[in-house]
Symmetry: C2
Subunit: 240 residues, 2 copies
DNA sequence: GCTCCCAGTTTGGTCGTACCAAACCAGAGC
DNA sequence: GCTCTGGTTTGGTACGACCAAACTGGGAGC
């Protein structure tokens, strides 16, 4: 009863041949048969190799692209991208941007950022190496020099906060920072014009840095929370 | 007229008609024209309304489904799902599972969990309401009663930790917990058999609870870190 | 021999039609 | 009122065709 077997398999798969093809390719990528930078076969070749229609082949490739496992551009063979937490977070992008519509969405995300970064500040205060400290010092210096250039200040601000994430050497956290920045950026641009805030924010960074350098987790967390809470007030202010 | 609009737009974009359609629908969802639970039009109707081929219509719907904006099942009209952080994290699932292949992937993720949960433990110690405390107490009680049933213990364990996330009332964090559990679960099942560990883990939970109840953030964090670090050792042990 | 250009080929994107199977629906027959 | 039944709806799949842009190879011109 081969037919029944096929039908059963289909039923188990919710009846989608494309899903099976999708799984086939993702497993190939997982196993390393398809390495980063490799290209998928042309659609017409997939058709022939796997005995499916081009419809199915295309759907599978689209699914791979949607999940960030391959990068597909018109008229180019899809390129395999080894999945990173970055690409994972990328795939959330469009969904998250929808959530930003509601004020609570922004608030919740920001709150999460505060919690995460507060933890990182403590971590930094406890485990920062001299090399970490000097990196932070340099970022702080750059931040100070950019006080009168809001665009530049934004960059150096981002860099300073980003260092807290990078110091862990944990790609998940590094990707998380990128996500925070990317998702919250739209809320930020509106307040970039408040130049007088730059000096205040720089001072806050100094406080955080000092606490980390002294190895005082409580002070580091407190300073960071003050800093971000203040930033939140500014964001919320431009809302209402 | 709508037809001409669509065609013009496409000409400007030089391709990717499906992306246009995708944006059209996601904006409808964002604006609330399509509410949670509503159904998308049948594919053949989309074809007619927007003057595209069924290929394009299907691709757009598929993209919506991949992003978790709609839920599509064979032979049923796609149902609109208001994007939640949960669905966003869902869309990362397949990518993340690939990353778990590398030991570092698991470690990095677990490290992130420790950082997050340590922060939550502090938060709980400082801001837990009597209601929160009693919820924790009940979870702890259930945890104790399940010491001799590993499956049940796993459930109550999960619940106890989950409460730390839920206490914030922040859906981002709640979804994060679900993600941690889901992604790390495969590493967990292998160690469920170590029944003697249950008692140890329960004791750790008690420590955490006590610290929270006393309102001692440092103790709460320390207890939680000890607990998770120990769990990590167990996971790593089953690896090598 | 080298460069440059052009026609033919590859490849993804779109369209249209056709058919299937499961779910749905409405009316017949009891 | 109930069940059975056959037509309709709807998503899934298959072919086949055409387009536009990128790629390729080889010949024209220097």
């Amino acid at each position: 009863m081969a037919k029944d077997g096929v039908r059963e398999e289909r039923a188990a798969n919710r009846g989608r041949a494309a899903d099976e093809l999708f799984r086939t390719f993702s497993e190939m990528i997982a196993r390393g048969e398809l390495k980063e930078g490799d290209t998928l076969p042309p659609e017409r070749e997939i058709v022939e190799t796997y005995g499916v229609s081009r419809t199915v082949a295309r759907e599978a490739v689209q699914a791979l692209a949607n999940r960030g496992l391959v990068e597909a551009r018109p008229r180019f063979r899809p390129v395999v991208r080894r999945p990173s937490f970055e690409s994972a977070i990328d795939s959330m992008g469009s969904v998250v941007s929808q959530l930003m519509g509601e004020p609570d969405g922004v608030r919740n995300l920001f709150e999460t950022r505060i919690l995460t970064e507060a933890g990182l500040a403590r971590e930094a205060a406890r485990h920062a190496t001299p090399a970490d400290i000097s990196k932070l010092a340099r970022a702080l210096q750059a931040n100070r020099e950019a006080i009168h250039d809001s665009v530049q200040f934004y960059e150096t601000d981002r860099r300073f906060h980003g260092l807290l994430f990078e110091m862990t050497g944990n790609p998940v956290l590094i990707a998380t920072h990128r996500a925070f920045v990317e998702w919250l950026a739209p809320q930020w641009v509106q307040m970039q014009k408040l130049r007088d805030r730059n000096a205040t924010n720089y001072e806050a960074h100094v406080e955080i840095f000092d606490a980390i350098q002294k190895g005082d987790p409580d002070a580091a967390e407190a300073a960071l929370r003050r800093h971000l809470a203040e930033a939140w007030e500014q964001v919320r202010g431009t809302f209402k």
